[in-house]
């Protein structure tokens, strides 16, 4: 069952608002601009698909929201407003209270995220009690059992070690850890990329079910357009650290506005589509330490003209809650996109 899109843009429905966020990675040799001037909002109960290839900045954006950017990475500007407060203004202690409790992150590789010498149950118990030492071990253990039940893992396995679980089960355990403290937002970074097709489908279904059950909001970071089509209400396409296009899932697939989005969709094989010829995108994704001037996509864009090489396009509103950063759209549509008012 698909959750309907909330039409109004009222403040009280916005869970997370990112404003002009920029992140850099600085080394002695060079500086990589991983994320540049990204502004995007997430509403309560929404699944936002954050799509891009390697170097697009999508993972960095997720880490930034969690406050997990560490040197040589630096958040150089912008605000991350979650439930009313700017996370960048919080102290490390306050951030730690948010992390896990309010916002949880699930990573790609469950193999390396779990401690091989700790029982699964202990992972949960320690995690729960780290955030609230007043909870007794017995209570934490029973919470853990409930979570395992949600995940479809028999609670008899609570004392097993990670190596006794298969890849898919381990990812379930990770998802469970993400949910253990009842956060309102989950950021999942390529949660199914390392998994086989059938297990991937199982995990996606699980995430969908849990999302409904617990009224979660989800940022799903992935390079897989199929996963996005399956799970997301809205999609944000990133390229070379910038937002290329943001729109509802249907809009993105049926009427993509940005040349990159269009090209990307034309380049993906689809088993349901009959006898299509894939159109490759010429060139390669850019080097973040040596970005082209102007629009980062222009070297590969079939429609590039002079202005694209000189100026960086701003996001232009193309509809209710949808926008794209391309000069082609200027003149066709009204005004530059509205950022959050504050």
């Amino acid at each position: 069952m698909r959750k309907g899109l909330i039409q109004s843009c009222g403040e009280d429905l916005t869970l997370l608002q990112i404003d002009s966020l920029s992140v850099e990675y600085r080394t002695l040799a060079s500086t990589a601009k991983a994320v540049q001037d990204v502004s995007i909002g997430l509403e309560k109960g929404e699944t936002l698909g954050l799509v891009g290839e390697s170097g697009s900045g999508k993972s960095t954006l997720g880490l930034a929201v969690m406050g997990l950017i560490r040197p040589p990475g630096y958040v150089t500007s912008g605000r991350i407003v979650f439930e009313g407060s700017d996370l960048r203004m919080l102290s490390e202690g306050a951030l730690r209270a948010v992390r896990g409790r309010k916002i949880a992150m699930i990573f790609q590789d469950p193999m390396t995220s779990l401690n091989p010498v700790k029982k699964i149950g202990d992972h949960y118990i320690e995690y729960i009690r780290a955030h609230d030492p007043t909870i007794s071990e017995a209570d934490a253990r029973s919470t853990a059992k409930h979570v395992l039940e949600d995940l479809g893992i028999p609670d008899t396995r609570i004392d097993d070690y990670p190596h006794q679980f298969s890849g898919g089960m381990r990812q379930r355990v990770m998802i469970g850890l993400g949910l253990a403290l009842n956060p309102s937002l989950i950021i999942a970074d390529e949660p199914t990329t390392a998994l086989d097709v059938i297990v991937e489908a199982q995990i996606l279904k699980l995430m969908s079910d849990l999302k409904s059950k617990y009224s979660l909001s989800l940022i799903l970071i992935t390079h897989n357009m199929g996963v996005v089509a399956e799970m997301a209400d809205r999609v944000a396409v990133m390229y070379a650290g910038r937002l290329a296009e943001v729109a509802t899932t249907t809009q993105i697939f049926e009427s993509p506005k940005h040349p990159y989005t269009q090209a990307l969709l034309d380049t993906i094989p689809n088993i349901e589509a009959e006898d299509r010829v894939l159109k490759a995108i010429s060139g390669t994704p850019p080097d973040l330490t040596d970005l082209p001037t102007g629009c980062p996509f222009h070297p590969r864009c079939p429609y590039a003209f002079d202005r694209c090489r000189a100026e960086v396009p701003e996001l232009i509103q193309t509809g209710e809650r949808s926008e794209a950063a391309c000069f082609l759209l200027e003149g066709m549509l009204a005004r530059p996109s509205l950022k959050s008012r504050d």
Binding site: D196, V197, N224, M225, A263, I268, P269, L278, K279, T284
Partner: protein
């Protein structure tokens, strides 16, 4: 027929009853006290054929044995049992010198372009390596040959790329290097192991097109190993679906996708996320995960997860039988004439 190995001698490559068992290392005590040798049955009685010019897909999830099978057919891994006959020659019956000469005919394109290229060797040298060892080409001619190859795969301007090192190239470019290296000595048979899995999405189509182009130009027979059904559908004319070391279904691509016969194939197709939001939801998913290849299920390997399982399935392994033309399946539903069950399920969707 490319399926049951009946008509011998007609196909370009014949893989017959291939098995590869990897013995499991046991601790000293276990070695002394236990009788049986456990082994991972990575490939268990696999048979198929490739015609010249085929682009044949070996599709499966992890543990299916597809990579091992592919490597065996490329002459890189000796099978525990069974034969690989290429152009009439049983390659593993050759002496090592003979096999070495035969290597010119078969090459492998690796999955990870970064780790399959020597980080300390320029890509010009790397591409020239097969020519150095497997051909009589003089060194002076080699550089030109390599430059030409580089142009052919799209690494232009070639003289600029010649002296570069792998870490200076993008993933897609590296994959082109690997392809150039593979085709440099004019092989007849190319095994591509997940050639686009580790390449950026926007570049995948380029690499797939390049492979297909090379295949046409050089009249290559291509074995494509992949877990990605969409890639297999795009590139291959024939596909074998493997599960836990065995072939579940074999057929022409069109037939396989239009009419998937094996319950596992259906489950796979059902599970693939489609880049189209209209195809959302309502999926009937398999439960459970792939069991260990150390101790595969008795009878049909798929039976514990099969929604249509019945008694015979846990007792007897189904053989690969052709029920439609050039479309074979290993499933008791068909041998017992119960396949209408599947049709009914299909209709109710």
């Amino acid at each position: 027929m490319f399926l049951t190995g009946g008509d011998v001698g007609s196909a370009f490559i014949e893989v017959e009853r291939l098995r590869k068992y990897f013995p499991v290392q046991k601790g000293l005590v276990a070695q002394l006290f236990s009788r049986s040798t456990e082994s991972v049955k990575a490939v268990d009685d696999v048979t198929f054929e490739l015609e010249k010019g085929d682009v044949f897909g070996l599709v499966g999830e992890s543990g299916s044995g597809k990579t091992t099978t592919g490597r065996i057919t490329a002459g890189l891994l000796k099978p525990s049992m069974g034969k690989v006959v290429i152009d009439g020659t049983d390659i593993y019956a050759l002496q090592s010198s003979g096999l070495r000469r035969f290597r010119k005919k078969m090459q492998l394109v690796y999955q990870d372009p970064l780790s399959s290229l020597n980080p300390k060797m320029t890509i010009g040298d790397a591409i020239g390596e097969p020519l150095r060892y497997l051909s009589d080409m003089k060194e002076s001619k080699r550089r030109d040959a390599v430059l030409e190859l580089m142009d052919r795969v799209g690494l232009s301007p070639s003289d600029m790329f010649y002296g570069r090192f792998p870490h200076q190239l993008s993933g897609g470019q590296r994959q082109r290097v690997v392809i150039a290296r593979a085709i440099s000595i004019g092989p007849e048979y190319l095994v591509a192991d997940e050639p686009v899995a580790m390449v950026d999405v926007s570049v995948r189509a380029q690499i797939m097109e390049l492979l297909l182009k090379m295949q046409k130009e050089l009249n290559l027979t291509l074995l494509l190993i992949t877990h990605d059904l969409a890639v297999a559908k795009y590139m291959c004319n024939k596909i074998s679906v493997m599960y836990l070391g065995k072939i579940m279904e074999n057929g022409r691509t069109k037939d396989l996708f239009a009419n998937p016969q094996h319950p596992y194939t259906r489950a796979l197709l059902e599970a693939v996320p489609i880049p189209d939001p209209r195809h959302r939801g309502g999926k009937e998913l398999l439960s459970g995960e792939i069991p260990s290849a150390l101790n595969p299920p008795k009878g049909c390997r798929f039976h514990p997860r099969c929604p249509y399982v019945f008694d015979r399935c846990s007792l007897e392994e189904p053989g690969l039988v052709e029920h439609d033309e050039n479309h074979a399946v290993a499933c008791h539903l068909y041998t017992e004439g119960k396949s209408s069950v599947l049709l009914a399920a299909k209709k109710s969707k």
